[in-house]
Each structure stands twice: as C-alpha cells, then as structure tokens.
C-alpha cells in the first residue's frame, strides 16, 4: 500500500512534468477491450448518469481508440458501485464515475475504503447543491428556515439519502449554523426528493439546477441558497450561502477513477480521452444547461484535490461526530 501511494505521487509528478508529451504516449496504449465499462454508482436518470451519458456520446463521436459505455450500479448511496469498481481488474477496461460520495460512504462506514482505493484519472465537472424546500413551508428564505429549525430542533422533515452526500449537506450546514433536522430516508437521488417536496412528505431537501429552474417557476418548490462560490446565471436571484453569512460551499464534483494498480500509461490515456470533450464549446454548453460547470484537472491535480477534499470532510465529520467518528 505504502509503495503504491508513493508510486502514485511519483507518477503524478511525472505526469505534470510531461503533460505535453502525455497525449502521444497515451495513444500507444493497448487495452484488452474496445469498449470500457464506466460504472456509475447511481440509477439511470440521476445527475451522474446524465452527465456521463453526455460524455459517453462525446467520446463515441471522438476518434478515441477505446470508447466507453455507462453501466449504472445503484445502491447503498454509491457504495455498491464503488465496491464493484474497486474489485475490478486494473486493466483500464473498468472506469468509475465518482464524486464526494466516496468520502461520505467511508465516514458512514458503508465502505471500509476511501478514495485512495482508486487511481485518480481526471476531475471533470462541478455541480453546486441548492438548498430547496417545498412550497408548503411558511418561511421563504434561509433566515426563516434556520429560525424554524432552531425553534424546533430535529423536527423539520428533510429528505436525504442516509449516509450519502445529500445527508452530509445538512449535517455540515447544521454544524455551521447550530441546527438539526429530522432526516427522512429517500431513494432515487434528487428526483425522489423533489417528489417528496412537491407532495409535502418532506419540507426541505437538496435539489439540483433542473428542479430549481422548472419547479420554482411553477410554484412547487422554493430555493433558499446555492452552496457555491458565485451565483448561477441560470437562477440569478438565488443567493449563495456565503452571501448569507455561512462560510460553506458544497457541490458535487465529478470525476473518473480507475482501480488501484492500473498502469500509469492507461491512467494517462483515459485522462486524455476525457480531456477532449471538456475543450469543446458545445459540450460545455450542454453540461451548463444542466447546471453543471465543466472543469478539467489531470491525474496529479485530481489526486491533490482528493487529498484536500477528503481531509476537509473527515475534519467536519470528526467535529460533528457522525458515522465512524461517533
């Protein structure tokens, strides 16, 4: 393990040094398959599968030697797909679509491994979370929401996937603001929560850009804040958490990983394949329409990002004493 980690760093350093030469080197890679499986650990129709579905199309249309096929393995808040991907052969024919769920799964003990069970390939997209509510709630802004939460701690029904990122959003918000909510387990990602918000099963829940855009206009949902550095052009009237005095960003940052022990050339090959679409204006516009920003980071930078993000999450978890830190 120790050796592999240091190998990864050396590989990463070499990668940064030779980024310009990486692409031609990658072209020489021989994989034992013509189509690689991209495991998406969430159901079809969810954010991750939609985002990587667009990647699949773009790569299909590109001249990459090996194409990808999205395979959804939903369950256990992303942990089921993670276990399958971690156990796959490190031959470059099984890729894994990932976001912060890996750290959260680890914190909650659903998996006993963290992101470092994989080789980081590329960070690709960033989708900020939006604090949403059903139209039936009395308050109409974040201040009102927090006041209501303080008035009856642990009582406001809030839709989450237990032990997943949508749960952690509220735990973090709660830790920063001294509030607590009643967590109602939901399945089916954002789509499931939106229905719950619409019919009053839950009062609060994290929603995505698509739901925020359509349902707000119809008066079915309220959006209190976006957990990003800046406001979004798509919903410019929704303030950021920072503007409201809460120092917190929370977005789902999606990327690609390979099973541990995958040779460096293969990692570089896939990094270059996924880099292609991110430089295409049409592709970026397509993702932007879904509320997702395209943001490419190569293997070394992505590994650094994981180091930082994981540390940040683990610190927060220790502070609020959840999961394995209880």
């Amino acid at each position: 393990m120790k050796f592999k980690k240091s190998f990864l760093k050396v590989a990463g350093a070499a990668m940064v040094a030779g980024l310009a030469t990486a692409a031609p080197a990658a072209a020489a890679v021989e994989l034992p398959c013509t189509t690689a499986k991209l495991i998406v650990p969430w159901g079809p129709g969810g954010g991750t599968s939609v985002i990587f579905g667009i990647f699949e199309q773009a790569i299909q249309a590109s001249d990459a030697k090996v194409k990808i096929k999205v395979v959804t393995v939903p369950g256990q808040g992303g942990a089921l797909g993670a276990k399958e991907a971690a156990a796959a052969k490190p031959d470059g024919c099984t890729l894994f679509a990932i976001h912060q769920h890996m750290v959260v799964n680890y914190i909650n003990g659903v998996t006993d491994f963290n992101w470092d069970e994989f080789e980081p390939v590329a960070l690709l997209t960033d989708t900020p979370e939006i604090i949403g509510a059903g139209s039936h709630v009395e308050y109409s802004d974040l201040e009102g929401m927090l006041a209501a939460a303080k008035a009856s701690p642990g009582d406001i029904p809030t839709g989450v996937s237990m032990g997943a990122t949508s749960h952690f959003l509220w735990l973090m918000l709660g830790a920063k603001t001294g509030t607590d909510f009643a967590y109602v387990p939901f399945q089916g990602g954002t789509a499931g929560r939106v229905t719950g918000l619409l019919n009053g099963t839950i009062d609060l829940g994290g929603i995505n850009m698509a739901a925020a855009r359509t349902q707000r206009g119809d008066g079915g949902l309220k959006a209190f804040a976006i957990a990003a550095e800046e406001r979004s052009d798509l919903i410019p009237d929704v303030p950021t958490l920072k503007e409201l005095g809460i120092d917190m960003n929370y977005s789902l940052t999606r990327g690609i990983m390979l099973p541990k022990g995958t040779p460096k050339e293969i990692v570089d090959f896939w990094a270059s394949v996924f880099k292609g679409p991110t430089e295409d204006a049409d592709f970026v516009a397509q993702q932007a329409a879904k509320g997702t920003a395209v943001l490419y980071k190569g293997p070394a930078e992505y590994a650094e990002w994981w180091e930082e993000t994981s540390a940040e999450f683990l610190d927060a978890a220790k502070k609020i004493k959840v999961g394995r830190f209880q």
């Binding site: 256990q76 967590y183 387990p185 698509a210 206009g217």
Partner: protein, 553 residues
Amino acid sequence: MNLFSSLGLAAPELFTITTMALMMAGTFAGLLAGAIPGFTIAMAVVLVLPFTFAMSPVQGLATMIAVYVGGLSGGLMSGILTGIPGTPSSVATTFDGYPLAKSGKPGLALGIGVWSSFFGGVIASVVLMLVAPQLAMIGLEFQPVDFFALVIFALTVTASLAGDQMLKGLIGALFGLLIATVGSDVVFGLPRFTFGVESASKGFAFLPVLVGLFAFSRLLGDVRDPENAVKRLGGDEAHAVHIDYVLSAKMVISRWVNVVRSSLLGVFIGVLPAAGSTISNILAYDQAKKASKEPETFGKGAIDGIIAPESANNATAGGALIVMMALGLPGDIMTAIMLGALLVHDVIPSPSFISDEPKIAYSIFLAFFVANFMMLFLQSITLRGFVLITKVKMYMLTAVILFYCALGIFALNNIAYDMWTLFVFGVLGFVMRALGFPVVPIVLGVVLGNIAEVRLSQVFARGDGLEAFLTRPWALFFLLLSVFSILFPFYQKHLGKPGWTTYFVPMLLIVMAGPVFMMPGVIRPVIAGLMLAAGIVQLITRLRNGQSGPEKI
C-alpha cells in the same frame, strides 16, 4: 392551448417516414423481447436507449414508447402458449390463457389477448390525452403512509386470489418480504442476512428470483414426467392453429364492460407511483373474476380472464406515462428509463411540462396511440410464427427457454451469482408449487418488500404516528380494502347460503365511503355520498328479504 391544437402541433413532428419506421422497428423489438421469457420489457428498453441518443427528442421517445408497448403485448404470446409469462406484466394472462390454449384453442386465446391489448392501449391513450393533468394530481397526493398501505393491499389481494389456499398465499407473501430483506438495508445500506457472503450484499436481484420462481420451477414441473416431456405443447393438432381475428374481436367487443373496467383500472394503477403493470394485471384479473357471473370458469380458460389482464397491462403504460411526464416520477422500471431518455434530450419533466412543451408531450401521447396500432399489425404477422412454438416437443422448448432465461439474466448484470440465484429459486419454486404454495404472492413480496420498507421508514422518520394509517384517506382506503380482500375468499365460499355474506357488498360500499369522503375536493366526497346511499339501500332491502340477491361487486 386545447387538445386539438396541441395534437396538430405534434402530428407533423411524429408522422414522418423515419419516425414511423423507427417506431415499427421498436414495436417489433419489444414484441420479440416480451415474447421470450426472461427477457423483460425493461431490458428491451435499456438496450434501445443508446440508439435513441442520436435521434431528436420526439423520435427517440416515440421509439422507446414503441418498444414499451410492443413488450407489454409480447408477453402474452409466451404466457398463453407456454404458461410462462414473458414479462411480469402478463402473469395473470397465464391463469386462463394457458388452460384455454391447452384445451385446444390456442388461436382463440391469442386472438383475444391481442385484441384486449389493443383496446386497453387505445382506451388508455384517449384517457391519457383527456385527463392527464387531473390524474397526475392524484398520484401526487400519495404520502409514504399511503404507499405502505397500498403495498399491504397489493399483497393481501394476491394472497386472496389463491382462493382456498389463502393462508398459503399469505405465507408466500411474507416469505417474499423475507427474501427482499436479504442484502443491504434500504435506508443505511448496511448488510443484513448475508452470512458474510460478499455477493449476497447486493441482495437477490429481482429478475433472477422472478424467472426462477415462475419459469424455472414450471419448466422443471413440465419435464418431471418423461411421457409429458416428449409431448407436443399444443397437442398433435397444433399445426391446425388458426387465429380467427374477426371472431376473437367480436368476443372481446361483446365483453366491452370488462375491457373498459380493466383498462381504467390499469390507467389508475399506472398513475400510482411504483405500482405498475406487474400489479395491475393481477388486480384487473381479480376484479373480472369478482364481476363475472361464472367465476368458477376462471383458471380453466375463461375468456374474461384473458381480457382483463391484457387490457389492464397495456393501459397501465398510459397511466405510468402521465405521472412520468407530469412529475418526472417513474411509475415503474420502464418509465424510469424513459425519464433518463427525456433528460438526455434536455427535456425536464415537471407539472407544467405538458403545457410548456406541448409538442413533445403530445407527441408522446400520439406515439403511444399509434404504437398500439403497430402492435396489432405486427402481432397479426408474427403471431403465426409464434404459434409454431406449440409444435415443438416439450423437452426441447424447455431447454431453449431455460437457455434464454439464463442468458437474459446473465446479460442484465454480467454476474454469475445471478445465475445461481435463478437456479436456487427455480428449485425453491418447484418445491413450493409441489407443496401447494402459489408463487405470485412470493414474487410480489420480493418486488414490494423494499418499497414497503423505505416508505415505512419514511413514515417513522417524519414522526407520523401509527394513527396516520387511520387519518390519511388513501391509507385508510387501502387498509380497509385489504380487510375486505382477506374476507373475500370466505365470502365466495359461503355465497348463496344465508348468513353474513348477504351483507358483504352493502357493508363494503358503506365502509369504503368513509375514506373516500375524507379525500380533498368536491367530487370524491360526493361519490362517497352516493356509495353510502347505495350501500344503505342494498342493506335495507336485504335485511327485509333476509336472503341474498344476485351478487355483484
């Protein structure tokens, strides 16, 4: 914007040669997939999805709808000819379709099945266009506690369908729920009943369990007796099969009450999220049996027993489409995949979707309508081919079907563990059949177990007490119906004798009026009032006569 101008907007988009050709291909693919046991509609739709990425939204969605409709009807072929439902949506079709085919009328059974599918689909598409917005609002009324009550109702209904064997049916349903608990718990994802086996942590995949319990166990039973094994399925005269479309159409149309009732029931079940055609075909069968003047013919080849499930399952697709388009809430696996397709094409469903995007919404309605005609046309060609199956000797057919079942199961997730699941549940199903346990409640228990668990945990997480089951109208509605469905087999047994059965129907009306009265709006309380009045009138006349009149529900 009214219905006709919206349709006028959508029609030119849909009726192009390319789109029509794609829909034809889709319908055929669906029929083929539905006809082969083990290949499910969901698999067919999943396989087609990638092909639609390059198409325009209307084309892609129309093609997927064609596959969906084709698959729903394709299931009836294998269901009627072999007694193995091609898809879970055709489970109840086998109850009477198979006996009728075995008794030497496979052509008639198939003809009736095809026409019922057609009428069910057409009725549903008309309903879809007329009342989509209103129906969607009912689906949205369902809260977790209502869902849980609905699951209880679905399980008691399947158990009571077993008639004399109701106790075994209930045991089966509970056993199914137990099977569903294996794997990881649905809330926290922690392993449960896995006994340390890593592959078991995913739980038993639903399809291998279904195919094992239904198909594998039946195939085992069919070839148990060496004499049976070399028999031809349709008898030696199988080649004489002739599908009389005119006669079967007449028979279906003359039973229009059943067709309309089953179709409307199908649409209603489709609107309920997570219910789907797996349940609607069984409920419609149950209703047809209860409404029939000769319920004893059910299970022995009753025409009404084929009409009900086949019109209901096609109609359910219409209901599921309403909810999917209006709320982005999939009613079943198929609509879940369709929802994915909508998102890929940058179409985001919401309650205002139908009014915001009339072109796409009404293209979907129209495509559903048109796909039913294509299905009818293609069935009339391909059915001849499928009738040939009855000429094959049992042991060959068994081997081939088993092969396809196993292949289909393996292709779904590419894991060998699923094949073992198939095998184990095949043997288990064989033993349970031999002991007289009906397998349908077991399967339904497996399917609904997770839904029930999630919903119940939501009830408690929200802090609703148990009293919510009595104060929420839909929850109360389904729980009361469950009680009556448990009493139903006893009612059937004692029918005609003096005693409590005399008051069963009026009491049902009076009691059910309660929850309906509690529902919001004006229309439903009025309906409740009518139910109450009808119940009281019946009760009084029966108390006076002191004997049972002609029984109907």
